[in-house]
């Protein structure tokens, strides 16, 4: 791997006003034919291309993105990373990812600013307590660092939290110290740069309009830059997955909904961990710039507008102010929405389908950022070997027929 970034390079480039840094990736025109085309240049898609080239030694790969890299949910999420999911299948999947996160900056020689500042998931009532304690125990059986924290411990971690004088008092929480946040753009850019270095063509501003099939086999894609033939096509298009799947005659059990986030004006450090609450639909962390990063639940209807309604923000901020009265007078600077693809069991799909050579990686919904390296790594395996890795085998499409769902509503429904 070429080391583009080092202390020497920073010094060297400082002398030329930082104007001579090399471009991070090429900007090639698409070829007529690729062995593998990945549709969607988010973290999952770019990562998939990277692992295909790096771990499976494959060549002649392209990533086709309709907008700019990371402009989908990868660049719109609140970057919470954790692996404290309830069921074994999910715990293995998200823990696989968390382990890759722990080494990602080194692996890519690019700082993804992974910060293991811990995550608290709050309990506000008797039922929450039981559910969370059960999840903590399940996590422990899966070797995941997960603890029950009582109100006193929470107060110590987050002194500004109002645990008592509110409608939904804080009665305890699960705590995962290895959890945290990362810089979303950097993940997409890091994977893109290293994939490009390994020969992957990254094609931006190129929308895939149709997936072409012939006799039950994938044939290629129609794009705004013409037809590209391909032996294998992996679709990683989050909210737009169903739109693409439909062009190949495939129905997926996904619904696309807006999910919103907002950031405040920057302030001095007040909260150095991530705090989430499913019951009151609010979560918050503080970015390195000092902004509070706040997230909501999804808006209650299908939409592709990447916007969402103000009532959702209002609900979220109401809960935030109850929990942290100190934020009451702060100003919010920006708000945005992303379109998330929600699966009936709140678990993802990383799977082959009835069409040979066509693969889907979708259904990550409100919580797939944390899975970026793991999902990419396993999807690459699935495409390269034409069969799933044992970790992603349970996340197949057939589960909706067999009934073997991985129901993560408890751990994932609102929490990200």
């Amino acid at each position: 791997m070429k080391k583009k970034y080092s202390i020497f390079n920073i010094v060297k480039n400082a002398f030329s006003n930082n104007e001579n840094w090399k471009k991070m990736w090429r900007n090639p025109e698409p070829r007529k034919f690729y062995d593998i085309v990945i549709v969607g240049g988010g973290g999952h898609g770019l990562g998939t291309a990277y692992y295909l080239a790096k771990e499976h030694g494959l060549k002649n790969i392209a990533v086709v993105e309709k907008g700019w890299l990371g402009g989908g949910n990868t660049g719109r999420n609140t970057t919470i990373i954790r692996s404290n999911y309830l069921w074994d299948e999910s715990a293995h999947l998200y823990e696989h990812s968390l382990k890759l996160w722990e080494n990602l900056s080194t692996e890519l020689n690019y700082n993804v600013m992974f910060s293991q500042r811990g995550v608290l998931n709050l309990a506000h009532n008797e039922h929450d307590i039981k559910e969370i304690k059960r999840r903590v125990s399940a996590n422990k059986l899966n070797g995941i660092d997960s603890y029950w924290a009582d109100t006193k411990q929470i107060k110590k971690l987050v002194p500004i939290m109002n645990t008592e004088n509110c409608r939904y008092p804080v009665l305890g929480a699960s705590y995962q110290p290895r959890a945290g946040t990362a810089r979303h753009d950097a993940v997409a850019w890091g994977y893109a740069m290293r994939a490009d270095e390994l020969g992957v063509d990254i094609i931006q501003n190129c929308e895939v309009k149709k997936i072409r099939t012939k006799n039950g086999k994938v044939y290629g894609i129609e794009t705004t830059k013409g037809i590209i033939r391909a032996k294998r096509v992996g679709v990683v298009a989050s909210g737009h997955t169903t739109v693409l799947a439909e062009t190949a005659g495939i129905k997926l059990p996904l619904q696309s909904k807006p999910l919103q986030a907002l950031v405040s004006e920057p302030i001095k450090p007040v909260i150095n961990t991530v705090v989430m609450s499913n019951a009151v639909h609010a979560y918050v962390s503080q970015s390195d710039k000092g902004e509070l990063v706040i997230g909501a639940g999804t808006d209650g209807y299908n939409s592709f507008t990447q916007r969402g309604g103000y009532n959702t923000i209002e609900d979220t901020l109401r809960a935030i102010i109850e929990l942290y009265p100190i934020f009451g007078k702060m100003k919010m600077l920006r708000q945005w929405g992303g379109i998330v693809d929600i699966c009936p069991d709140a678990s993802p799909i990383i799977s082959k389908c009835e069409i040979e050579g066509l693969y889907f990686n979708c259904g990550w919904g409100t919580g797939g950022f944390k899975a970026t390296p793991g999902s990419a790594n396993l999807f690459a395996h699935t495409i390269a070997k034409d069969k799933p890795h044992s970790i992603n085998a349970p996340f197949n499409l057939e589960r909706f027929v067999s009934g073997r769902l991985v129901d993560e509503h408890g751990a994932a429904a609102v929490a990200h």
């Binding site: 309709k66 907008g67 501003n205 929308e207 705004t224 059990p253 619904q255 696309s256 009532n311």
Partner: protein, 117 residues
């Protein structure tokens, strides 16, 4: 936030309503004859178009009645509202005049989809 014209109460704020998902999903007539795959479709698969979408709403904090709407999911424009039991109106010619609120360009948005229901 949407402004929704309840056929019984008139225009009200969206926060008074709850969305009920895709409209006109029929339960299989002869459940014994339906195989697992067909059941799976009925239980789990719902239309999710970027464009014309037939959906249900209920006026939760109002008259509590259900009704149907046709909405363009690429802009959130509500094109038609009709009562439960009425034949779903056909949107014949439809040219999307609104831009996607997020400012998505025409290329790279799929903001053209008009599909027969």
């Amino acid at each position: 936030m949407l402004l929704i014209n309840c056929p019984y109460c008139g225009e009200r704020d969206q926060s008074e309503f709850t969305n009920g998902g895709e409209a006109h999903v029929a339960r299989p007539k002869d459940p014994d004859q339906v195989n697992d795959r067909e059941w799976s479709e009925y239980v789990f698969v719902r239309a999710n178009p970027k464009g014309i979408y037939y959906e249900r709403w209920v006026h939760t904090h109002g008259c509590k009645k259900w009704f149907n709407a046709i909405r363009d999911t690429s802009t959130d424009e509500i094109l038609k509202i009709y009562k439960i039991g009425e034949t779903p109106p056909l949107i014949k010619r439809f040219k999307n005049t609104l831009r996607s609120p997020s400012g998505e360009p025409d290329v790279g948005s799929g903001n053209f989809t008009v599909k027969k229901p």
